[in-house]
Structures are given as structure tokens and as C-alpha cells.
Amino acid sequence: MPREEIAQFSIDSVEVLAADGSVDESLVPDLSDEQLLELYEHMKRSRRLDERSIALQRRGEIGTYAPAIGQEAAQVGSAFALADDDWIVPSFRESPAFLTRGTPPAKILQYAMGMEEGAEIPGGEGALPPAIPVGSQPLHAVGIGWGNAMQADPGVALTYFGDGATSEGDVYEAFNFAGVFDSQTVFFCQNNQYAISTRRAEQTNAETLAQKAIAAGIEGIQVDGNDILGVYRVASEAIEKARNGTPVLIEALTYRRSMHTTSDDPTAYREAAEETEWEARDPIVRFQLYLEQRGILNEETKSEIEDRIESEIADAITEAKAAREDVDPAEMFEHVYEELPPELESQMAAFRGETDE
């Protein structure tokens, strides 16, 4: 038997809105002016919440925080493409996605203040709480997408993870299980070039992360993650495919412009020149140029949006601080089981007794 090529694979990459604000008109998604402004406002709100959160952490008012500065287009564009009944299954850097899905900024701050209250998912919200263990959550999305399929529920689960997570075995298992069970799942990999200090090139020898879909027999595509129009377009198409039982992996090329978390100092492992280079490709600047060129955004609307965001976040900070004051320590015993087992009941009684003394 001769040796012959038996399979061929390729990966597409999409960019609609280039860094200079120019667009490929043939690929521009069908969004109204209002929707475009909404996207812009979500990105601005995320950026501002991150900036304020870093400052709050520096003043000791919140704990460790993982900013998503630079990744707003990737998250806002993909979350905006979801229907209300769809799910997001996030990692720990997903404030932009949560905000886009309507989570109040106060909740995000509460989470950063070390309160489980910040990870409550009110009924019907379609989200799982932030997942700290890297790469653990895509499997949960596969279960949601499969459970929905079994119940004839069209809801899709879109899960966020990073370039580092693609090295985790669980992420491969997730791709593979999704393919086997036709799970209604979109895997949204934000390749922000760094897993803390480890560069993308040191993470894997694979040419793209999108191609990791191929081994699992699901679809993979790459998109410029700083191009909100491209992300929205690619995510919308993937979500529709997933709704019909075809899981898709999206690799969004972006850049973590800020630190890994507030405990991290990126100057230890990267050059300022690199940061400057990516600043020029910033997703908000690019989209703003586009909106201004199209006459959708002017100085007046811009400052209206900024003022609104400023006061929303100020209110959120006040609300989160007040909630922090109301924390009942004994609530740690609740929500471990549906009903408190006797052993926990006696531990709680002892705790209350000791703290009352």
C-alpha cells in the first residue's frame, strides 16, 4: 500500500475592522446604530470598571483583581452575540462578558471583595460563577450544551478561557466530549499572548490555537480579537452552528494590556515597546474611530456615555462597600448542602457561641 495524504486541514482567520479604523464592508455584521453604540458603551464600562478596580485594590478596598484591559472587544463582541437564554461559562477575567450580559458592576466588585455574594447567579441568568482553576470550566459548558440538547432547549453555552488553558488536559477533553455528544457549545479562547508570564510561543508548539479543534473533530477559526465587528460576526456564526449541534472553537487574538492580576508586575517579563505596539491596536480606540467615521459617535454622545458610566460605577462602589459591611460570617455554613447536616449544625452553633461571647 503506497503512502498517501489522507486528510487535509486548514484554519481561517477573520478581521473586519482593522487597527486604523478601516473595514472590509463585505464582512461588516448587520448591526443597528443603537447596537453599535451599545457595544461601545459596554467596552467603555468594562475598561472603566477595570481602571477603578485596580485603584481600589491599590488602596486596599478590594482584593486581587484580574483586569481585562485590551480584551474588551473579544468579550463584549462574543457575549453580545448570545441570545438571552444562552449561557456564559467564564474563567476569572470576564468582567466585560458579565457586564455585557447585564451583571451589575456591584456584583463584580463584591466578588473582588472576597464575597460569594458576587458569584450568585440569579435564576435564569444563564451563567456559571467565575472559575479560578485554569481550564476547568469548558467541560461545564459542554455539559450545559449537552443537557440543553437533551431537553430540546436551543440554548448555547459559550465558555471563555485563555491561551494557557489550552495546555490543560480538561480543555482537550472538553473539545472531544463536545464533538462526541454534539453539545451546543462555543469555545471562546482569548489568546491574550500571556499565561501570567509565559508567552504564547512557550505554551505550545502549535501554529494556531484554533487548530486544536481539529484533533477533536470540531470546527476551529481564528479572529482578530481586538476587532469587535469581526468577533461579533465570527461568534454569531459559531453560536448558530452550536445551536444546531456543531461545537466551534474560536481563537480570538488579543493582548492583555494590563497585569495578570493586581499581584503581578508585567515589567518583569515583557518590554515596554511591546505594550506600546499593542496599545496602537487597542480595541476601543479602533472602534471609536470607526463610529466617528460613520458619524454615529461625536464628542457629545461620547461624554454622555462616559458620564453615565462614571456615575454607575461610583454607585456600584458604594453599594458593594455597603454589602461588605453586612456580611454575616456564619453564612459560610449555609449553601454547603441543601440541608445543614448535624455535624455542620453543631459546628455552626459552636461558631455562633464563640463569636457571641
Partner: protein, 322 residues
């Protein structure tokens, strides 16, 4: 109505009746579909419920992790892990997510999943097919840990586990799968967290579970002393009261398990006896357990696992102690 079943059949019939009772129940795992599981615990179920009984790809993290998502959509996943030691490849999903989902979301996302697995020695299988990690699972807040010791117990406890709003690690003693038959009432339910007194007695209490319970029953047969045998059935939450009530009455206690001695459940049970019934003790609490060695391969398995003689020796020492 009732039926005379073996443990493996009790598992199968309980799964069948729960699949039949609720469209939310979904059974999946490695080889559980077409083959019916390596122990045949799920045999025939896929034919009857083709849309809710599945073969899963080989991947324990996948099997457990996916269950979290299924549960979030309102399903009741009942995955099988082929052997307990294989669960270690998905242990992180259990410890990081299954157990914590309820608390980290403050009760807004729950994980009513029952993870079934054979555990313990007795079938002379390959390496890493015979471990007993119940103490490890019991150390993870948010999980319930259940071990049946007979066919009727299997049916009653598995049914309650599947219906439980909390995640359950359900450990089936491999040794008992086909060892004996017993009447199993239809729709039998045993509340989780309630132990049972298997045999009443006045002179000494033996606490044992899983396949060690059957060996204990055999061991106490030879004694003239009146020995009370307690099966906790659920290791978390542990029914402390049934154990300490018994020890208060007898004043002497032996705890038997197959798992290694150090940090095993016998240590925890001893502590609870000390907390609740110390002044009733007439002798130190004795532990008859496996050794602090990796579970040996089967040439030495019978030397590791407590047998009737070791249990009897422990009972004798404790009866004789002043």
C-alpha cells in the same frame, strides 16, 4: 413487591426505575452503554433508554466535569467511574467544582449528581483497581459519601442518592457485586446520613461498612459475647448518634475498614466517640484496617485487606482490655 437480587442487579434495577421515574436522569460513563459496564451494572439500560444512557469517551475529568453542566441545566447526571482509582484523573473536577458549586454560587447553581464507582479489593484485578478512598472524599466539604453493604442497602441508598439535591460519591464494594442475593423491596429508599444497627449487642460495638461489614458479621459469629454491629452507610454526613449511642451502651468499640489506617475514617469516628462518649469507654477504641501502604497487587491483596481473623483478633483484644 420485592425481588431477590445481588448488589450488581440492585444497582441496575435502581437505575432502571429512576430512569423510568424521571426524564432528568442521565446515565453515562466508559462502556456503560452497549457493553453495559465492565461489571454489567448498566446492562440493558441503553436499549430501554437510548436517549439517556450513553457511552462516554475515556476521560474521567470529562465525565465528572460535564456532569456539572448537565446538572446546571436541571438534569440529574448519574455517571459511572469504571474503578474508583480512575477517578483520580477527574479528582480536580470533584474537589474544585462538584463539591463547591452550591456554596460558591450561594445556592443558585447546584450539582445534584451521583457519581457511582466500584471500590475496594476482592476481585484480584490489576493494579489501581481496588482502592478505598472514602476518607478522602469525606474530607471534601459539599460532598456526600455513601457505601452500601448489601443488595437492599444498595437499592435504598442509590435511590436516595439520585434523588438527593447534593452531589453524592456512591462507592459500590466490588467484592459484594455478585456475592449473595437478598430481598430488595421495590422503590426502597434509605435516608442519607442515617446509620443502622445491624445486630444488637451489649458488650462491644463494631463499626464497619461496605464489604467489611459482611466480614464483621462472620467474625462476630464466633463470639459468645453480645456484640453490636453498626453500619454507618453514609460516611458524610456521618450518623454520629447511632455510633455513640451504641458505644455508650457497650463501652467498647472496634472500627473496621479496608482503607489505610492513617487519616482513615476510623480516626474520625474515634474522635467523635471521644467527644460524645469518652466517659463510657472501658477500653481504647481499636482500629482494624488496611496498612499505610499502597494497595498491593493481588498476590498480596488478601494479606492487606482485614479478614475475619484480624477482625476477630481486634474484637478479642478490645473485649479483654481492662
Amino acid at each position: 413487591m420485592s425481588e431477590r437480587l445481588r448488589v450488581v442487579e440492585a444497582v441496575r434495577e435502581t437505575l432502571r426505575s429512576e430512569l423510568d421515574r424521571s426524564d432528568d436522569v442521565v446515565v453515562y460513563g466508559e462502556d456503560v452503554g452497549r457493553a453495559g459496564g465492565v461489571f454489567r451494572a448498566t446492562q440493558g439500560l441503553q436499549d430501554q433508554f437510548p436517549d439517556r444512557v450513553y457511552d462516554a469517551p475515556v476521560g474521567e475529568a470529562g465525565i465528572i466535569g460535564m456532569g456539572i453542566g448537565l446538572a446546571a441545566t436541571g438534569m440529574r447526571p448519574v455517571p459511572e467511574i469504571q474503578f474508583q482509582s480512575f477517578l483520580y484523573q477527574g479528582f480536580h473536577q470533584l474537589a474544585q467544582n462538584v463539591s463547591r458549586m452550591r456554596s460558591r454560587s450561594r445556592g443558585t447553581i447546584t450539582c445534584p449528581m451521583t457519581i457511582r464507582m466500584p471500590y475496594g479489593g476482592g476481585i484480584h484485578a490489576l493494579e489501581l483497581h481496588s482502592e478505598s478512598f472514602e476518607a478522602g472524599f469525606s474530607h471534601i466539604p459539599g460532598l456526600k459519601v455513601v457505601i452500601p453493604s448489601s443488595p437492599a442497602e444498595t437499592a435504598g441508598l442509590l435511590r436516595s442518592s439520585i434523588r438527593s439535591p447534593d452531589p453524592v460519591v456512591f462507592m459500590e464494594p466490588t467484592r459484594l457485586y455478585r456475592s449473595f442475593r437478598e430481598e430488595v423491596p421495590d422503590d426502597h429508599e434509605i435516608p442519607l446520613g442515617e446509620g443502622r444497627v445491624v445486630d444488637d449487642g451489649e458488650d462491644l460495638t463494631v463499626v464497619a461498612w461496605g464489604s467489611m461489614l459482611q466480614k464483621t458479621i462472620e467474625a462476630v459469629d464466633d463470639f459468645e459475647a453480645s456484640i453490636e454491629v453498626v453500619d454507618p452507610r453514609t460516611l458524610y454526613p456521618l450518623d454520629t448518634e447511632t455510633i455513640t449511642d451504641s458505644v455508650r451502651k457497650t463501652g467498647r468499640c472496634v472500627i473496621v475498614h479496608e482503607a489505610p489506617k492513617t487519616a482513615g475514617m476510623a480516626g474520625e469516628i474515634t474522635s467523635r466517640i471521644n467527644e460524645e462518649a469518652f466517659y463510657s469507654l472501658e477500653a481504647p477504641v481499636e482500629r482494624v484496617t488496611g496498612y499505610d501502604v499502597p494497595m498491593p497487587m493481588f498476590a498480596r491483596e488478601d494479606d492487606y485487606v482485614p479478614d475475619v481473623d484480624r477482625i476477630a483478633a481486634g474484637i478479642r483484644r478490645t473485649l479483654d482490655a481492662d
